[in-house]
Symmetry: C2
Subunit: 203 residues, 2 copies
């Protein structure tokens, strides 16, 4: 049950840091500190104060960058979402489910590059229902984002919602299999096979 996220550091790299009073990249340091602590002590046992201290900032600064303690683990999910939606938007004309497949392919292709990180992150999520909830919310955002992109391309709204749901189901279920220890195939391959199975199931 889960997917998402890539980079821990999401700082705006086009902005040259003033390099004055404070160390640059507070966001990146907070993200790294959080993952280290969540891994070594567990998510619940880690306080925001500890994260902030390790990153050399105050608690208040943590909440400036991340709305809550969970959000720090989802810094990369926006990138995934954007890539998927862009792919749906730009795919060559085709039936709705194929457009969604293009979006899912794009997202899987990004995750693919960081299987090690995905596994670490997933091990943290697996132990915490409250993190799983957040993950589900991100997946719901992916669903509605792709659905909107389909509607923009002229797909009927009901069909768009269903097709996007199917795509995200394939993506999520494929993810679980992909990070399993004994799985040798790559993510894209798994996702594509799942789409085939899905067509068979419905037909």
């Amino acid at each position: 049950m889960s997917v998402t996220d890539i980079s821990m550091s999401q700082t705006d790299i086009t902005y040259t840091h003033p390099m004055g009073r404070w160390q640059p990249d507070a966001r990146g340091r907070l993200g790294a500190a959080a993952i280290e602590l969540y891994l070594s002590q567990g998510f619940e046992a880690t306080t925001v104060a500890q994260i902030a201290e390790r990153a050399g900032v105050t608690e208040r600064t943590f909440f400036r960058y991340f709305g809550d303690k969970r959000e720090v683990l989802f810094a990369g999910s926006q990138e995934l979402l954007d890539a998927a939606i862009a792919a749906v938007r730009n795919a060559p004309d085709a039936p709705a489910l194929d457009l969604v497949a293009a979006g899912v392919d794009a997202a899987a292709g990004i995750l693919q590059l960081r299987q090690d990180h995905a596994r670490v992150r997933q091990s943290i999520l697996d132990a915490n229902p409250s993190l799983q909830e957040r993950e589900l919310l991100k997946m719901a955002a992916l669903t509605s984002g792709m659905a909107s992109a389909l509607v923009e391309r002229g797909v009927d709204p009901v069909d768009a919602g269903l097709a996007a749901s199917l795509g995200v189901s394939v993506f999520s279920q494929g993810f679980v299999r992909w990070i399993a220890a004994d799985e040798r195939r790559d993510y894209l391959e798994i996702v594509r096979e799942s789409f085939e199975r899905l067509r068979a199931l419905a037909g």
Copy 2:
């Protein structure tokens, strides 16, 4: 994006209340008080202390019945889950997607009886992402519950997961349409039409 829950009062009705020192059905009163306050003041603005006071119990009692402030809105979702899983288990032999359809039918049939309440509850959820997260977790539980039931009946695990996901997608999307003000059809009808569309999409 949402579904679930029926009754606010989930007290064990087979148990005859002692009717002694305390008013009976503390759980039911807490549930009713919470919904009233969430509606009139908003979810965030309502404190557990207010709910407890209105129900005539202490804060501590609230947390004895409900794990957290959100859970009070999901008292009925277990019933829905159980009904769906039982239906999948007991449906006559058929392809996986038809078994899932039986489960979804059962759940929709229950919700059907309380459209007014479903609308009220949904209006509270719509305004609060943290409640939407919890709803998604319940839907995920429904998915994995139905998937397990399918596996028990001999369906391949991967197919089971996909089929259950499809079913829950239909259920959730159908729910949104069903509670829309201008929708005249009943929930079961909408759900059945969605299954048809889904087959068309994949075919």
